[in-house]
């Protein structure tokens, strides 16, 4: 069984930073399934505490912004749950500012928000984070360039093939059509996979809106093919 793969290219000139960083030579193809067979990184040294799944906790007060829940299920390409795998997330605060010292966007930092979280998927492959909705921010890639609101995700999975770093976006964001990073994925089906959806079942009454975002890691018996 073959699967379509919607990965972005390395070189995408509309995203300026790719020009000097995209390899020019084609990758050396390892035998089919090699990446699937190779055991993934032993990430167990990365500390994960239960409270790390709540990005609104751990400070003197509550962060500013719209409290949200992001949850979903991590599966492999066959639809089997990927249990006990590490999910790392990071994001800007509600004003569109990262705590990272590299970020010089003149928007306020929030003393009650760091914007980094971790959790392990449960036996069904499910994850759940409590956070605030990140703000959009400018990024100088081109004139009047703004990133749509997004949350960065990093996942390991069982093999080298399953390693994934990506970004989750929010439905209906007016900046999405203008974003070269998301639009580097040429196929609309691929872009759709990075959009969360509002989910009334995940929403907690009188407390927080819920967004649902499922993640499929490369691997399983189905073999992805390059499009």
């Amino acid at each position: 069984m073959s699967l379509e793969q919607f990965e972005p290219p390395y070189l995408f000139p509309d995203y300026r930073a790719t020009k000097l960083r995209a390899p020019q030579l084609p990758p050396v193809k390892l035998p089919d399934e090699w990446f699937d067979r190779a055991r993934g990184p032993a990430f167990g040294r990365i500390p994960v505490r239960a409270e790390d799944a709540d990005l609104t906790s751990g400070h003197a007060g509550e962060p500013l912004g719209e409290r949200i829940i992001i949850s979903g299920r991590v599966t492999d390409s066959d639809g089997h749950a990927v249990a006990n795998t590490l999910v790392e997330v990071w994001q800007a605060n509600a004003a569109g500012r990262y705590l990272d010292p590299v970020d010089d966007h003149p928007a306020p930092l929030d003393p009650n928000f760091t914007g980094a979280g971790r959790c392990l998927t449960d036996s069904q492959g499910r994850y759940r984070f409590v956070t605030i909705k990140p703000g959009a921010y400018p990024w100088r890639n081109h004139a009047n360039a703004w990133r749509p609101a997004h949350v960065h995700f990093s996942l390991f999975g069982p093999s080298l093939a399953s390693r994934l770093v990506t970004q989750m976006y929010f439905p209906g964001d007016p900046l999405i059509p203008h974003d070269p990073i998301l639009n580097s994925i040429s196929d609309p089906r691929g872009r759709q996979m990075l959009l969360s959806r509002f989910d009334i079942e995940t929403t907690v009454p009188e407390w927080a809106l819920g967004y649902r975002w499922d993640i499929v890691l490369r691997g399983g018996n189905a073999t992805p093919v390059e499009r």
């Binding site: 699967l3 000097l20 960083r21 990758p27 050396v28 193809k29 639809g79 990262y98 390693r163 994925i185």
Partner: protein
Amino acid sequence: MSPTPSQTVGPFFGFALPFAGDAVAAAGAIRVEGQVLDGASDPVGDALVEVAQGDQFARCRTDVEGAFHFEVTQPDEGFLNVTVFARGLLRHLNTRMYFPDESDEVVRWVGAGRRPTLVARRDGEMLRFDIRLQGQGETVFFA
């Protein structure tokens, strides 16, 4: 089900992904130092490099000089799997760092001219392994 596509790690992961002792896969082991360079031979100061093999795993964010370092032991396989993330890389890159004098069939598939990009060099007590994303001396990446 098609896999979820990748997106760049971006420039702002430095407050989130590093962890205490992240570059030390094995204490008291061999130190590896290297630099991530772009197509203009300029340092890539916002890359994240991970190495893994067996029970060893380490992660290092590059500094303004594009420099990273690890402490690792030489695994039976003779190489470490190396994964590179950076601003400007829409998806990550996979390569391998072979220890000096180590080789296998994968190295032999790679043309002799590019083979040295996969092999760490001895530098005193340390090993040196640079990663060139593009251009002259471009590192061999695997898919």
